[in-house]
Symmetry: D2
Subunit: 127 residues, 4 copies
């Protein structure tokens, strides 16, 4: 990676930044797109748009967004659903120098909660 002009603003290590940036991406996707009308027929277009917008952001190496068709329940007289947090299944990979973080959002039934967590994090803990 070419020298990033934002680097001087950051405290901590590149590993810290990788974790931080993974969090940003998950928070951003969810709160940007929650509430969008969706059906099985339109889910793929929405997934592509969410992935494309995420790829533009700092340090994203890979992003996969899935809307859970099993949990998606069209309802009401017009037969569509609104995208809710529990329908997301996201995995985002962020790289900062030698460090890499994999952030996940998925609904965890045991917690009754759409959990964002670090699935993997690696790299030096010293600057």
């Amino acid at each position: 990676m070419a020298k990033d002009p934002t680097q001087t603003y950051f405290a901590g290590t590149e590993r810290d930044r990788a974790a931080f940036e993974a969090g940003i991406k998950l928070g951003a996707i969810v709160h940007q797109f929650v509430g969008t009308p969706v059906t099985e027929g339109t889910a793929a277009a929405l997934e592509r748009a969410m992935e494309a917008s995420t790829r533009l952001q700092p340090l994203v190496e890979d992003i996969r967004v899935r809307i859970d068709r099993e949990r998606l329940r069209a309802h009401g007289p017009y037969g569509y659903a609104s995208l809710t947090e529990d329908l997301f299944d996201i995995e985002v990979v962020v790289r900062a120098g030698p460090s890499r973080a994999v952030g996940v959002l998925r609904f965890v039934p045991e917690l009754d909660y759409p959990l964002m967590y670090l699935k993997e994090i690696g790299g030096p803990t010293e600057p």
Copy 2:
């Protein structure tokens, strides 16, 4: 159109409803998608997702969403923009029985304002 089960909730005429529903769609698109990271390269995917989500909603006959590439200005160290209200160019056609409304959102330079307006509205003014 088959009898719409929501009809009994509405005051006014089908023409009133057509105008009302056109407004809903414009308000919804803008406030759902404003803030999404975008570039010339991702604008088309986002336009498709916005159109697809709008088509699911009540009484939409047609919808066209364009992001103004001329006004789109990538900036900052990562070279993307955030979708703002003044970048939208939307035309939505709504039909309620014999009535039809065409709602538009576009930036109007003379007003320095992204204006939502009724471009066309027709149909009986009596129930």
Copy 3:
């Protein structure tokens, strides 16, 4: 009302515009704020912010936003909810010249749907 410089852009009557603007406000509130974390303790602050932002918009005469505490269900390990469309109870009053429209959003159990509808609409049907 002083002459509104946007008026020349509008097709139809002031009554059409009142209906259209009422729709915009409902679509905007919902798609702006859906997804916001909320509990009984924070609902009032959010209601005030939603009302304040709506009052700024064209032709709004009155606005009341309530989050349904009965339907609000805190869940997950951190004990909060996300604002969803079915939790809204909104009434917005719009005036365009002699015409007045009252738009409502509320969850209608019989429809299993958060319905936006015109509760009242009045004024001349001729320009």
Copy 4:
């Protein structure tokens, strides 16, 4: 803090989590509230609502949200602005066990970019 039931899902250290959670909060605030109509007169109510909704989320110790009145430019015939990313000035403090992260969002003129960064990060780098 009582044992957090989400802990078993997390890779890495509590420091990694603190950085990650700080990122989530910044991404969430921005993409939830960008686009909201705002003036100097309504900015305070919106700031309070943004802070209240953030305090509900996991591991937040403190949050301060300011809308930059200097940059806020009401415009158009109705005299209000839309909240954009460059108007935010946010500082969020997250604690995970002995680790603490301070995340900031502010517009950085030299970068022409609203930068999210870790202002402080501390705590053990070993589990």
